[in-house]
């Protein structure tokens, strides 16, 4: 019962926020344009949150996603400029996009490698790479962005009436949801997060799977990086500063446990949308961004507090 409440709570809050905003601002909020706008804005965070969900379920954390996004974007844009000259177009953009995504994958792979082979806590490793990736992004063009004026498709492109970034977000959500539920990778992710030693004793190659989890997160960060680059038509070395905290917040609001073994993609989707709609609503209601920060902070704490309460109730019910 309480478990059901816990699962429905973020979803209920999301619906509630949408209802309230619809009532308050029917003209500006309840429009297809506004909804697509919100989805488009949440796509970058949402895509990265999918990877973060898997990492958090495995009892890990990745603090480097923001820096990784900046670095992947910078590397992708740099390749575009190297191939296509000062104003790259066509094939140069495609190759650059591909390289940017692979860069993300490589960064994630590096995180996984350091965590498993040096046996270091994920918090420490990604705290380190957070700084290192950011530093490289700055060094690449002496702190200046790479401008790619024609790199617009990932942001402005529309397929079947839906912005391409939203479509990519949807595909990644669906794939990750299926992967977590119906693949050995997903199953092992939960097992490693729940009890790493027990998973190892049950024959799970823990190191190999952890590396995969971090690498795949790097991959989705790379994709998010190229969408961000397209949105700004330039790669910014300052992209994604403190992004990791927003992402972790969305995942936690969605019901994942930082101690591992628990979390779902649907939960994370709801957590991401909850934050996005809240931001959107505050903007429409002329509430300052500073106040938004206060509200989001409170929601994180309430969500986790309710979760704890529900869990301790459930635990008390089956003592002995």
């Amino acid at each position: 019962m309480s478990k059901l409440v816990r699962q429905l709570l973020p979803f209920g809050s999301l619906i509630l926020i949408i209802c309230i905003l619809s009532a308050l601002k029917p003209d500006t909020f309840l429009t297809t344009d506004n909804f697509l706008n919100v989805l488009r804005r949440s796509s970058v965070n949402g895509i990265i949150a999918v990877g973060m969900t898997a990492i958090i379920i495995s009892a890990g954390i990745d603090l480097s996603v923001g820096s990784m996004m900046a670095l992947s974007g910078m590397v992708g844009a740099w390749v575009m400029l190297v191939i296509g000259g000062t104003n790259p177009q066509g094939a140069a953009l495609v190759v650059g996009t591909f390289v940017g995504i692979v860069m993300g994958l490589a960064c994630g792979f590096l995180n996984g490698l350091l965590i498993t082979k040096l046996k270091l806590p994920p918090f420490i490793v990604t705290l380190g790479t957070m700084s290192t990736f950011r530093g490289i992004s700055y060094v690449m063009n002496a702190g200046k962005p790479y401008n790619i004026p024609h790199y617009k498709y990932l942001n402005e492109g529309i397929v079947l009436g839906v912005p391409i970034s939203v479509l990519i977000f949807a595909v990644i959500i669906a794939l990750a949801g299926l992967l977590l539920k119906y693949s050995r990778l997903g199953r092992y992710t939960y097992a490693i997060g729940s009890n790493r030693v027990a998973a190892f004793h049950a024959g799970v190659n823990v190191d190999a799977y952890l590396i995969r989890i971090y690498a795949l997160t790097g991959l989705v960060v790379g994709i998010a990086a190229m969408i961000t680059t397209s949105r700004a038509v330039s790669a910014q070395p300052t992209a994604g500063v403190t992004l990791e905290l927003d992402i972790i917040a969305a995942v936690v609001i969605g019901g994942a446990s930082l101690s591992g073994g628990r979390g779902t993609i649907i939960g994370t989707l709801i957590g991401t949308l909850l934050i996005s709609f809240l931001r959107n609503g505050c903007t429409l209601l002329d509430i300052s961004t500073n106040v938004q920060l206060i509200v989001i902070g409170a929601i994180i704490i309430i969500a986790v507090a309710v979760d704890q309460l529900a869990r301790s109730r459930a635990a008390a019910g089956r003592t002995e």
Partner: protein
């Protein structure tokens, strides 16, 4: 049938604790119904019962952790309401839990005075000298041998128990509850603990002693109370009881055929281990196990039995030695390799190294078997549920369904989840490390039956246990470990428990007779 002796109606100064008509419900589950429990001053009172019988609930009520739905508690003839742990402590009740509750980096004296440190001359500075002196004095009064300035982390398990007891005594405890105090102690340490308990009794303290090991209760307890399904089924002096009677009260039936008879049909050699040594203290172990054979492994705690299993299963690195299965030499460097080569290892520590507690039962059962059951690429939950439910039926696991989290099950059923895992794996060589530890009598018997059944299917079984009676009950042969080496290889039909103990505990050079096959 509920029996209550005259004793529970006794009154007067000799009664230290009287719990009367205690009932407690958790949701729909009636954990305790109308339980009365009386403890005399200066006695050791054993509290026994199967897992889930209500022992911990009763003790948590006494400790002020839970509130009873009805019933009263009298301590030293004064009625008390214990609404929180601090009140129970103030009333003279101290709990010593199975997992000791010590600050490992502090000294013995600091632990004894934890939370009630003696103030020194300066504010925020405690008087170390005085605390050390008073700890030493207290220890001396009870004849406990311990250094008050030693760091707890460096003490052996037995000494940690002393610290817990001193802690209780320093708080003027008159009733000490000990929950499975010997479960992590070696044989000698356990003996030492019994002496401690007797010393406490002599000083007019009352000890409520919870244990699954009935043998130790016989020598130690003055009174015994038996809980079954939340009811007090018997309470009376130990003198009128023996182990079969206690077991009878615990399970409500005689366990004449405690160790089921088996059709022993031993085939050719299946497992051949030669000169196995590991970094974890295993030295030069060689043995064979044949098809259908249950080979027991005895030894004291720290003799290296689990380490042998860990080396065989690829958890610890081998430094030398070979393992052959079915005449084929195996290359095992990880549990993954071991499982691929049809070896199973049921861990002794199911919570730490066995189960993913918050995950569903079905996931725990299929964890090492996903490839085996054809779910290498895609997991089919419905088919998985069906497979798991079948195997659960076979060994009668009691659960709310395959999707229930493992931590919602009782200890015995959790153990069965791990057994189900390895049954599903279709292993040929199965290592069971203390499979009956911490589970109740009924579940133990079921585990023995499963072992017999597996042997009947022609599997080779290595059965590690600290309980000699069960080794003698079902093993065809017993390997005795001592300090990482094999000290003996005996036939239980031609030897005695004393002799095995002798092999396990006494240096070979001091042994007169030469045992073994």
């Amino acid at each position: 049938m509920i029996e209550t002796t005259q004793r529970s109606r006794l009154s007067g100064p000799e009664i230290a604790l009287r719990m009367n008509g205690i009932s407690k419900k958790f949701g729909p589950v009636q954990a305790l119904s109308d339980v009365s429990f009386t403890v005399r001053r200066g006695t050791v009172h054993a509290l026994v019962g199967e897992n889930g019988a209500g022992k911990s609930t009763l003790m948590k009520i006494l400790a002020g952790v839970y509130q009873p739905d009805s019933g009263t508690i009298e301590i030293n003839a004064k009625q008390k309401v214990l609404s929180k742990p601090a009140e129970a402590l103030a009333a003279g009740i101290s709990m010593i839990y199975q997992e000791l509750d010590l600050a490992e980096h502090l000294t013995v004296a600091e632990n004894v005075f934890l939370g009630m440190e003696l103030p020194g001359r300066l504010p925020f500075i405690m008087d170390q000298k005085k605390m050390t002196a008073r700890t030493a004095k207290l220890a001396q009064r009870f004849n406990f041998k311990i250094n008050p300035t030693a760091i707890v982390e460096k003490l052996p398990m037995g000494d940690c128990q002393i610290v817990e007891i001193l802690k209780a005594l320093m708080r003027n405890a008159s009733i000490i509850v000990m929950d499975e105090p010997t479960s992590s102690l070696s044989e000698t340490e356990a003996e030492m603990l019994f002496e401690l308990v007797k010393a406490l009794r002599q000083k007019e303290l009352s000890i409520i002693y919870i244990s699954h090991r009935l043998e130790e209760i016989v020598g130690l307890a003055d009174d015994v109370s038996v809980l079954r399904d939340g009811r007090m089924v018997h309470s009376g002096p130990m003198a009128t009881l023996d182990i079969p009677k206690i077991v009878h009260y615990m399970v409500g039936r005689e366990l004449k055929d405690f160790f089921p008879a088996r059709n022993i049909n031993i085939g050719e050699t299946l497992v051949k281990v030669r000169n196995l040594s590991s970094k974890n203290g295993v030295e030069d172990i060689s043995f064979d196990i044949r098809k259908g054979e249950i080979v027991g492994m005895a030894g004291l705690i720290g003799a290296g039995r689990t380490q042998v299993a860990r080396a065989l299963f690829g958890i610890d690195r081998k430094t030398s030695g070979t393992i052959e299965l079915d005449g084929r030499r195996l290359e095992i460097n990880s549990p993954t390799d071991a499982i691929a080569n049809h070896i199973a290892f049921l861990t002794e520590d199911r919570k730490r190294t066995g189960l993913c507690l918050e995950l569903p039962c079905s996931w725990n059962i299929t964890l090492p078997n996903l490839v085996e059951i054809g779910m290498k690429n895609i997991i089919k939950p419905r088919q998985e549920s069906k497979i798991v439910t079948n195997i659960a039926k076979r060994i009668s696991i009691k659960w709310l369904g395959p999707q229930a989290p493992v931590d919602s099950l009782s200890g015995g059923n959790q153990q069965k989840i791990l057994i189900a895992r390895w049954l599903l794996a279709q292993s040929k060589f199965m290592i069971f490390d203390e499979p009956t530890r911490g589970i109740d009598v009924g579940a133990k018997k079921e585990v023995y039956s499963i072992l017999n059944e597996l042997a009947g299917e022609g599997k080779a079984i290595l059965f590690i246990s600290s309980e000699l009676p069960e080794l003698f009950g079902i093993a065809d042969r017993i390997l005795v470990m001592r300090r990482g080496r094999l000290a003996g290889n005996v036939n239980p039909k031609k030897t005695t428990q004393e002799e095995v103990m002798h092999l396990a505990a006494v240096e070979a050079s001091l042994r007169k007779e030469s045992l073994g096959q």
